[in-house]
């Protein structure tokens, strides 16, 4: 059971791992499947009764870049333009920015494009009829970091055109690109808010700790009674303590006595991923 409201011109992120229910939620929102309970309205229209109206107004990019693999870039775009009773020329300004990057390959078949280019083509196709609401289901899955970054920049520019964007992603670090996010797991929203509010509400002080032996450090920290949670987090481990105010000087001494060198302990700001783990961790 989930509830959400998305404002016009907002980038709303639904963030959660595979199996959280993101795709199902998107399919309900895009009138593709019926919810067992509850109602959805898009632009004031009911997804069950007025699905035909809604289908004219929304753009949808399913999780697996649904393109005709054996058709060329241009043919794909043309087809999707025709589906929405429009032409490439009519709304070219909207997609120009994105399409320009793949235009040199317009005679190449979609099946032969790289992940990043497929993503751009699929996005162009979803935008060709100038939708008011854009649904992007995991647009960054299976795409390299460069293309991911480019996609988010494109979405930022679309937002300026007053297009409402709902996007789902399993990458927690992409949360910061959204105006508001919903953290989702097991078909439920854990929290819905702006990324800043979510990270601001992190319940404990968060410390980043590193030493020259990270895997031993992980088990040493977890063995300490004062440690509440300890997770590997890139170059350092992120740690919260039970009593919140911890004796950092003592901790450093303790770690050195256990044979750790170049110990570095500093307070850090929680990321959305820290929050997600804190919300899902079973103590």
């Amino acid at each position: 059971m989930v509830s959400l409201e998305v404002e016009r011109g907002e980038i709303f992120g639904i963030i959660g791992p595979d199996g959280a229910g993101k795709t199902t939620l998107f399919r309900i929102l895009t009138t593709l499947i019926l919810a067992d309970n509850g109602t959805v309205e898009i632009e004031g229209k009911d997804v069950v009764k007025e699905y035909k109206e809604i289908r004219k107004e929304i753009g949808y990019m399913p999780g697996r870049f649904s393109l005709y693999q054996d058709l060329t870039v241009e043919e794909n775009l043309n087809i999707f333009a025709k589906v929405f009773n429009t032409s490439i020329e009519e709304n070219y300004s909207l997609i120009e920015d994105i399409y320009k990057q793949i235009e040199p390959f317009k005679n190449r078949r979609a099946g032969q494009l790289s992940g990043g280019m497929k993503q751009k083509l699929a996005l162009s196709c979803a935008l060709i009829h100038k939708p008011t609401v854009l649904f992007l289901d995991e647009p960054t899955t299976g795409v390299d970091p460069v293309s991911r970054k480019e996609l988010w920049e494109m979405l930022k520019r679309l937002k300026e055109q007053n297009i409402t964007i709902l996007v789902s992603t399993p990458f927690m670090d992409e949360a910061s690109m959204c105006d508001r996010i919903a953290l989702m797991e097991h078909g439920r929203f854990l929290q819905v808010d702006t990324p800043e509010h979510i990270t601001g509400q992190f319940s404990h002080d968060l410390w980043a700790i590193r030493s020259d032996n990270m895997s031993v450090l992980l088990s040493d920290l977890r063995a300490m009674r004062s440690v509440r949670t300890c997770f590997a987090f890139g170059e350092s481990h992120h740690v919260t303590f039970r009593n919140n105010v911890s004796d950092i000087v003592n901790l450093e001494k303790l770690l050195k006595s256990k044979g750790h060198s170049s110990v570095l302990i500093e307070q850090t700001k929680a990321s959305v991923e820290d929050c997600f783990m804190d919300l899902t961790y079973k103590f």
Binding site: G16, P17, D18, G19, A20, F105, R108, Q112, L113, S114, G115, G116, M117, T141, G142, V143, D144, P145, V146, S147, K149, P170, F171, M172, D173, E185, D212, N213, M214, S215, V216, L218, F231, A232, F233, G234, E235, E273, F276, M277, T280, Y281
Partner: protein, 257 residues
Amino acid sequence: MESIGKTGIFNSEIVISADKLTKKFGQFTAVNEISFEVRKGEIFGFLGANGAGKTTAMRMLTGLSHPTSGSGYVAGFDIYTESEQIKKNIGYMSQKFALYDDLKVWENIRFYAGIYGVPNKEIEPRTEALLNKLGFEKERNSLVKSLPLGWKQKLAFSVAIFHEPKIVFLDEPTSGVDPLSRRNFWEMIYDAADRGITVFVTTHYMDEAEYCNRISVMVDGKIEALDTPDNLKTQFNSSNMNDVFYKLARNSTRNSD
């Protein structure tokens, strides 16, 4: 970071070596003279943009594809002539095709153990030990498709190293997994590396790249950077690996896989 787990890594024996390894498909050079060495017990991150040639390089190293030129040795065997030997000494796991969804947990273990020639009488006790370690005793008879994704991944990794290979190749092993499972998974990787298994891993999560001892970044078929995460960050004047990657790969001219 260069000393995750142990300090002696950089003196241990070389288990993977590639020298000017090249693969051409007609006019197209998918992999262009890549050279590197990976040592025993090392966690080696193999990064690159889509279409940079990672998959092709991995295929050559795992004996699935013949190089056009250059030389390579995996677990001491020549990738040109001894691919059968190589296959016996490596484990492989990709997110997509790691386990059979319609087989039970123990059947999957049994199947892979059989493929890799684990002696019959060892399979039973080791399966027992593995299920114990993973806490999967109750799931022994569950179909794999009924398991949560994070569990599947753990199981797939355990199965890939069940025959105690010298090297395990992991192709985007954690994609789509929730953050807690992702960390559990990396702890298993550390554990395997501590036991001396070399881990060769590709990932799209740049924070995971930080867990590796060394990272190579492929761009347009070439290895453009190869060093420890810390050194790379210093070299590219970046605060995180995401930025390093972006600086390296944004000028890629290659557009197709």
